[in-house]
Amino acid sequence: MTLVAHDLGLAYDRRQVVEGLDLTVPEGRVTVVIGANGCGKSTLLRGLARLLRPSHGSVTLDGEELWSISPRRLARMVGLLPQQPVAPEGITVADLVGRGRYPHQGVFQRWGDDDRAVVAHALAVTGTADLAERRVEELSGGQRQRVWIAMALAQEPRILLLDEPTTYLDIAHQVEVLDLLADLNRERGTTIVMVLHDLNLAARYADHLVVMREGRIVHEGAPEKVLDAGSVREAFGLEAMVVPDPVTGGPLVVPLSKAHPTAQAVDASAGKEG
């Protein structure tokens, strides 16, 4: 199931945010979109999720024009976790996750064993099974985020789009969530497209990295090919050193700034302080 943007333009109130963008989302892979604030990452995601009508160009899913697919049918194939989802007052975790089954259920909302099994699985893999009877509004930020991911999982989409899924999470939970998504991708072949702020987590988890700047894609490809000091400077206006990640061998972005303008005297090849 391939999602492709053709010469895509997206605008808000006559302000063009995304311009002439071509992107083929690699099927069955994890794609991460990075870029400075306001570069159009979220807008792109919303355009791909059919939340925003293109000002020009188009988005196709397996060659089919996205806007010609009925919302329900599309919901069975593509899921989105938006930036700040709103939980209705008083709703329980199990209830919320269960709502992810809506696109798969008929008009009379019959609940089958299938549905329950899917919900259970979603709860299990996100580690939220214990919270099933709790109210969403009582949970911590990290727990809530996992519940929302569980809901997206319950939707069983072939392509999952996530807009900054790790914001508000502490480092342990960030990694946990990303591992979860990586598992999903590996075991189910779910295509994942997410917007991340953390460049290094992006480098670790992305099969395909998309760097955006001012509404356009400036670099695209495997992280080790794409992330270097030049591209970081171009996209973020930030000076940085890009060194090998001691754990994965991939690129590790180390920012340089006024407060910390240069590397300490280090034995670079040994990677230890000299």
Partner: protein
């Protein structure tokens, strides 16, 4: 696509240390929780139905002509006591039925509006439908000198015209709740001004009779009116039920709802139109009965306790409130005098809301 995978212990899950429950166990838990939710719903619904029946029996048996329950039942059969049948079928039952229908329609409208607009001040009472209907009715009464069904017709027309103007004026490159509500309030004020003009320029006694209509009452219920309202109710309730599920999703935000396959704008407009028709129908026949539309949804939510949009319970709450209020209205003042229904709901609404607020847990977010 495989739906169940072998049990696995997920990573650093929230609180459990050892390998968590199997998925089958989780599924069981979810099912049990769902069943508990359904049970609660059914219980609440049954309790409400019981309440409706109690109020109904009270209303039908009490009054200047007191009927005992056996007499009541006897009057239902075609060869029962003639006088009892008259009291029951021509006087009390139409009034009870109309109060019930009005309560149901207003509660439906309130539920739909609150779900769509998400502002506790934005009930059908204030965004122009009641005021437009009042203009229609008062014009019919004071300017045209009409009465009865014609007044109801004018009221319905007035309410619908204002609502249509509201929808049209509020539409610009798509639908915005904010625009809709503000436009509605503006139109409501204009309508109120017109009513004020009519009231000050007419004979005082006529103005007084117009005021009686404006207070909201079902004491003049007739079988034709009951039938008409019943028809509207029968059509709109299923529509509301169909919309309810989508509306529940809409409460999670437009983006999430759209991702799950809902069409937010279409749903909103459909829900509002349904609510408008329901409210206009009720107000045209009974006048602007205050507060039912505003209070029925929160009460129902409280009773259900799980954050869902419960349409049937909400409608039942509306029926209970309206019929109980009408019972009070008809019997609180000794003799044949009937206090207008709108007056009673207005007076009861206050203490109810106070109770609601005093028992609400503090807001998490500062709203």
């Amino acid at each position: 696509m495989s739906l169940t995978t072998p049990p696995r212990s997920s990573g650093p899950s929230g609180s459990s240390g050892s390998s968590g429950p199997t998925e089958a166990e989780i599924a069981g838990r979810v099912a049990r929780a769902a069943r508990a939710g359904v049970r609660r719903r059914v219980l609440v619904t049954l309790a409400l139905v019981a309440a409706v029946l109690v109020v109904a029996v009270l209303s039908l048996t009490t009054g200047e002509v007191a009927l005992t329950v056996p007499e009541l039942v006897g009057a239902l059969s075609p060869d029962g006591d003639v006088f009892a049948r008259y009291v029951l079928l021509d006087l009390r039952l139409p009034r009870l039925a109309m109060a019930a229908e009005v309560g149901a329609l207003l509660a439906l409208a309130g539920a739909l509006f609150q779900s769509v607009l998400r502002n506790p001040l934005a009930s059908p009472d204030i965004i122009g439908i009641s005021q437009g209907a009042t203009v229609g009715a008062v014009t019919a009464l004071l300017v045209l000198g009409w009465g009865g069904l014609a007044v109801a017709g004018c009221a319905a027309l007035g309410g619908l015209v204002v609502a249509a103007a509201n929808l049209l004026l509020g539409w610009r490159n798509g639908f915005s709740s904010y625009r809709f509500v503000l436009t509605g309030i503006g139109l409501a004020f204009v309508a109120t001004s017109v009513v004020g003009y009519l009231l000050t320029r007419s004979d005082v006694r006529e103005a007084q009779s117009a005021l009686v209509w404006m207070a909201g009452s079902v004491s003049g219920a007739d079988p034709a009116g009951v039938r008409h309202l019943g028809l509207v109710l029968v059509v709109l309730l299923p529509v509301g039920a169909l919309l309810a599920r989508g509306l529940g999703l809409l409460e999670m935000g437009d983006d999430t709802a759209a991702t799950l396959g809902v069409r937010p704008t279409l749903l909103r407009v459909a829900a509002l139109v349904t609510g408008v028709v329901a409210a206009a129908a009720a107000v045209s026949v009974a006048g602007p009965v205050s507060f039912v539309a505003l209070t029925a949804p929160p009460i129902a939510r409280r009773l259900l306790g799980d954050g869902r949009v419960g349409l049937v319970p909400t409608v039942l709450v509306g029926v209970v409130v309206a019929t109980a209020a009408d019972f009070v209205a008809g019997h609180v003042v000794p003799g044949q005098v009937s206090v207008p229904l709108g007056v009673v709901t207005g007076l009861l609404g206050g203490p109810y809301l106070v109770w609601l607020l005093a028992t609400t847990s503090p807001d998490r977010r500062s709203r």
